[in-house]
């Protein structure tokens, strides 16, 4: 059982992350999630800026990963999150899980994403043709995290 957490400016390679996950022995199921910079409903997105709280971010991500490993049978769990300026269609976040069983893999991956979205100190600012604005938190993300009924990821 092993955890890898990285917060970085550089892009990541899903191919390399996948290979690292299957390199861990005897995993029958590998689930990956990749989040990318999307165009806005109203259009005009020029770039996304990602701010984070260095030190706390890494700690929260490791706690979330450890909680996932406690709840599900997970052999390898990788979280990579980018910071800084990202262009349209660039990769933002990767969560990969290698598990003996597909249900455990899917649930652990969803759990990590739901808690990352609501607990990890990252903030997005959207640069559009009409200016720059911080992204508002989504109630749906809060609801998604609450379905796991874990009150405190820092526990």
């Amino acid at each position: 059982m092993s955890i890898a957490v990285r917060v970085q400016h550089e892009d990541f390679s899903v191919a390399d992350e996948y290979q690292a996950l299957v390199g861990s022995s005897d995993c029958g199921a590998v689930v990956t999630f990749t989040g990318l910079v999307r165009e806005l409903a109203e259009g005009g997105l020029q770039a996304l800026h990602l701010e984070h709280y260095s030190g706390m971010t890494e700690q929260v991500l490791e706690q979330v990963a450890r909680q996932a490993q406690q709840r599900w049978q997970v052999e390898q769990l990788t979280i990579v999150h980018r910071i800084g300026n990202l262009a349209l269609n660039e990769q933002i976040v990767f969560v990969g899980v290698a598990s003996p069983h597909r249900c455990a893999g899917f649930e652990a991956c969803m759990f990590v994403m739901d808690f990352l979205k609501t607990q990890a100190p990252f903030w997005k600012r959207e640069e559009t043709s009409s200016g720059s604005a911080w992204v508002a938190a989504k109630a749906t993300d809060q609801v998604a995290a609450e379905r796991w009924q874990v009150s405190d990821v820092s526990a």
């Binding site: 984070h52 709280y53 030190g55 933002i92 607990q119 990890a120 903030w123 911080w134 938190a137």
Partner: protein, 82 residues
């Protein structure tokens, strides 16, 4: 002495990345907030935003959390990563 950091929209609105604050022993995060509002009355509205989150030494805490000399407190809006 406690170090206070601000992030994202809050940091921009206060126009302040971080500030050191002297506090009596055993003061809470909420008392830290009161002191900040006394020192900077124009910050009051932002500091009392209902959605504001606080962390002590990289861990989320309640406003009633007691602080000690050397602690790092962070105040920030709801997170939006991922």
């Amino acid at each position: 002495m406690v170090k206070v950091k601000f992030f994202a929209l809050l940091r921009e609105r206060l126009n302040c990345n971080e500030i050191d604050v002297d506090l009596p022993a055993g003061a809470t995060v909420n008392q830290l907030r009161e002191k900040l509002a006394l020192l900077h009355p124009d910050w009051t509205r932002e500091l009392y935003d209902q959605e504001l989150l606080c962390a002590k030494n990289y861990t989320f805490v309640d406003w009633s959390e007691p602080l000690a000399d050397g602690d790092e407190v962070a105040l920030f809006p709801p997170v939006t990563g991922g």
